[in-house]
């Protein structure tokens, strides 16, 4: 294969049929792969009449044209489905080895529909493709399942759900290569609803570049820039993603105790510096990645595993008022083993802590108390006691007990680790993200804090919409190629375009890629509109819009969303209701899609 394998595996678990479909190459050119191809396939397959946990929902795994090419960070893959947490289109991506290995089986994507009557797993190996009984695996944890199925670094890779996915926990993740996750939005529950426990892949095919010389040159240049950037060659390897804990705290944008404050007094105890000084065993890399940001850590009680990343350390840390790094790390390990999204889990526990302190739920849970983490995570995975409510995510939990204003969510997805009152652009990112509150769809940490590519005033609102849109489009195309966003800290879209050109033999410019990103973003928007979402859903929790930060560098600020949103719709070529105008759809080649329905 040169970029695309040209084939999609189509599996129906209800009938047990396994088919191979040709990849529509025009679709591939317009949406590339990954998140873009996933959204495009989902548009056709899963309409508004389908509920997320119905057998009719599809779980679509996609790779991109550069996946498995050995270009730096070309290991990632994507899953697209309708989210049981948000009811929006969901895309989630993950690194490790599985994505590269799946691509090597000779497929660009895999559509899984229907529902098996009994627990099953899928094997894709040289021996063939089969749907096999997995009754003996049902109930096993992620680590147990991964080991039982013979995970073997870059030869045989396992993707599976844990008990949380089996029990339809709305914040359940799909895990791959033991501790990597397709975390957000509850894709694990969709997999569980299909009675699908695991997918094992072994592949031999190679993604060989069409233009070998140009590909080699791009490998060299990209490697040179990754080495030259202190971000990718020093900061990430030495301290991991959690190195940003202190800076986000320093500027007064680290949400603390369920976003009641924006600075955490114990931030330094849960920072990347402290992780490196205390629990770090070694760092590790995903396939074909020179950056090595993964942390392998070991707590005082001897538990060892991957993490915590910045978001997880924040979710169980500042969000819950907890400065105990060992407790946070072990909570992270347990989420990985049971298959739960750490951001949503920690955020939801923080919400429950505030509800308990304010008397909305009868529980002695309190901010700062980490002793209940493991119990609560287990109860969530198995839907026992309060865990049965936590399993529904923060929004449904808070609404059930009469305090929806305490839920820090957008479109029912839990907010990550940046307080938009101290980073105005990030608020716009959260409010407009197509999968609900998410930083990965257009993170403003770069421009608003780290000066990447240039520093802009984090409190300003004028001009933010454009920067947010460009970052969203860029993230969408990186997720479609599929690259890791950390490689984008050293190289820009022009590198991705030239590598893609070398791999596929088809010419792509940087702005062709940005156009793909814009197309993907608009298609996702159309999908959510078709589901009944409106501009009223492009909002933030009341606390962030109306309660000013009480002290610290962001004192007095609320999230000033309205003017940014007006500018955003204008920038995007959408009408005042946030609906893409016909001429915008025409420009992006999406007009034909919406003719019958809008």
């Amino acid at each position: 294969m040169e970029g695309w394998a040209g084939k999609i595996l189509d599996i129906d678990l209800t009938s047990g049929s396994i088919e191979t479909l040709p990849l529509d190459m025009e679709m591939a050119r317009l949406f590339l792969g990954g998140r873009g191809l996933g959204a495009r396939l989902l548009w056709d397959l899963v309409g508004p009449e389908v509920k997320p946990l119905d057998p009719e929902n599809a779980l679509i795994f996609t790779t991109g044209p550069i996946t498995a090419s050995s270009s730096q960070t070309s290991n990632r893959f994507n899953v697209s489905t309708k989210s049981p947490l948000t009811n929006t289109l969901l895309h989630a991506n993950s690194g490790g080895w599985w994505g590269m290995q799946f691509k090597r089986t000779g497929y660009d994507a895999m559509i899984i529909r229907g529902k098996s009557e009994t627990p099953v797993m899928i094997s894709i190996t040289e021996a063939g493709i089969s749907i096999d009984d997995a009754s003996d695996l049902w109930g096993k944890t992620v680590f147990e399942t991964t080991e039982a199925l013979g995970q073997d670094r870059n030869k045989r890779n396992v993707l599976c759900i844990g008990p949380a996915g089996e029990n339809l926990v709305r914040i359940a993740a799909i895990m791959n290569d033991k501790e990597r996750s397709l975390a957000r939005g509850g894709a694990g529950a969709v997999m569980g609803s299909k009675n699908l426990k695991a997918i094992v892949v072994e592949g031999k095919e190679k993604n060989k570049p069409a233009d070998k010389d140009q590909f080699k040159f791009m490998l060299y240049e990209t490697g040179k820039l990754i080495k030259a950037s202190p971000l990718t060659s020093q900061a990430l390897p030495e301290f991991g993603t959690t190195v940003v804990m202190n800076v986000v705290n320093e500027i007064g944008a680290l949400p603390t105790r369920n976003f009641q404050e924006s600075q955490f007094e114990d931030a330094h105890k849960i920072s990347g510096e402290t992780i490196t000084d205390t629990i770090l065993v070694k760092n590790q890399a995903c396939w074909a990645c020179p950056i090595t940001c993964t942390r392998i850590t070991k707590t005082a009680s001897g538990e060892e595993g991957e993490g915590p990343e910045f978001e997880s350390a924040w979710a169980f840390g500042a969000q819950c008022g907890v400065g105990d790094l060992d407790a946070i790390t072990e909570a992270n390990f347990l989420c990985n083993d049971l298959g739960i999204d750490t951001i949503s889990m920690g955020n939801t526990i923080g919400c429950a802590m505030e509800m308990a302190e304010k008397g909305f739920i009868d529980n002695d849970l309190r901010f700062g108390d980490a002793t209940k983490f493991k119990e609560l995570i287990r109860e969530t995975a198995y839907r026992e006691g309060l865990g049965d409510d936590l399993a529904e995510g923060s929004y449904r939990l808070a609404e059930k007990y009469g305090a929806p204003e305490l839920s820090m969510t957008v479109k029912k997805l839990e907010l990550p680790a940046y307080d938009p009152r101290g980073m105005q652009g990030q608020g716009l990112v959260y409010a407009t993200s197509n999968r609900g509150a998410c930083h990965e769809t257009g993170n403003m940490l770069g421009p608003e804090v780290l000066s990447l590519p240039r520093l802009i005033d984090r409190f300003a609102t004028q001009g933010k919409a454009g920067i947010v849109s460009v970052h969203q489009n860029s993230a969408a195309v990186i997720d479609s190629l599929v690259y890791c966003k950390f490689s984008a800290m050293a190289v820009a879209e022009e590198f991705f375009a030239r590598t893609l050109t070398a791999v596929t033999g088809q010419l792509f410019t940087a702005d062709d890629l940005m156009k793909v990103g814009e197309r993907v973003w608009n298609l996702e928007r159309l999908y959510n509109l078709r589901e009944g979402f409106t501009s009223a859903d492009d909002t933030l929790p009341d606390r962030l819009l109306n309660v000013p930060v009480a002290e610290g560098p962001s004192e007095g600020f609320v999230a000033n969303l309205d003017p940014m949103l007006v500018e955003y719709y204008q920038f995007r070529g959408w009408d005042e209701n946030g609906v893409p105008k016909p001429e915008k759809l025409e420009e992006l080649g999406l007009a034909e899609l919406v003719q019958p329905v809008m």
Partner: protein, 203 residues
């Protein structure tokens, strides 16, 4: 219409472009994209002495009251915003780069920093300069794959997410060009120190 922060950015960068000799007193122009509007330097305003009243707000397409007062090269800025993901555009007249553009179809840096940052700057030829349709088309096409490009015998256009980023490309281009010119004047053979540097020709 233009907030204090954005005004200061225009003013400071305008001054930098003028004092570093990359435009004459009334030459050069800059714009940013805000929502569905373009904010651009007023026609005739001095880049080195921008006042709050020196800006015009205009739409992306079509005619509006802003057009007449806007910089004559508005049409080029519009085309760039339409065809690329740029949020800011800087147009200047960096002298050495203009000199090189007279005899070259591309400027390929020979210094280390310039190679890292730019790798290659294409040169486009335009028959009718100063705000022609041809110029708008050729310049915006070239900017789809590059952050800064030269128009032969005229000047450069650079894009970025902010004015500062676009200005940084202009500044880097002129440094690259100065080094090429001085090396050429010195007349000694260059010792290639960059691995795979032949790849920059195809960049």
């Amino acid at each position: 219409m233009i907030d204090q922060r954005l005004y200061e950015e225009f003013r400071d960068i305008g001054r930098d472009i003028f004092v570093t000799g990359m435009t004459s007193s009334h030459g050069g122009n800059m714009s940013v994209r805000v929502g569905d509007k373009i904010i651009i330097k007023r026609r005739g305003a001095q880049l080195g002495r921008l006042k709050r009243t020196d800006f015009v707000e205009t739409s992306f397409k079509g005619k509006d009251s802003g057009i007449i007062r806007a910089s004559t090269e508005l049409i080029v800025h519009r085309a760039i915003y339409e065809k690329t993901s740029a949020l800011a555009v800087v147009h200047a007249h960096p002298r050495t780069a203009i000199v090189l553009s007279l005899s070259r179809d591309e400027i390929i840096p020979i210094d280390n920093e310039g190679s890292y940052l730019l790798r290659k700057i294409p040169v486009v030829t335009v028959e009718l300069a100063s705000g022609s349709k041809e110029m708008a088309e050729k310049v915006s096409d070239a900017l789809q794959g590059y952050k800064v490009i030269m128009q032969r015998g005229h000047g450069c256009f650079a894009v970025g997410q902010t004015l500062e980023e676009a200005y940084a490309w202009v500044s880097a281009l002129e440094e690259v060009s100065d080094i090429i010119l001085e090396h050429k004047l010195m007349g000694e053979e260059m010792i290639e120190y960059r691995k795979h540097s032949e790849g920059y020709k195809n960049w």
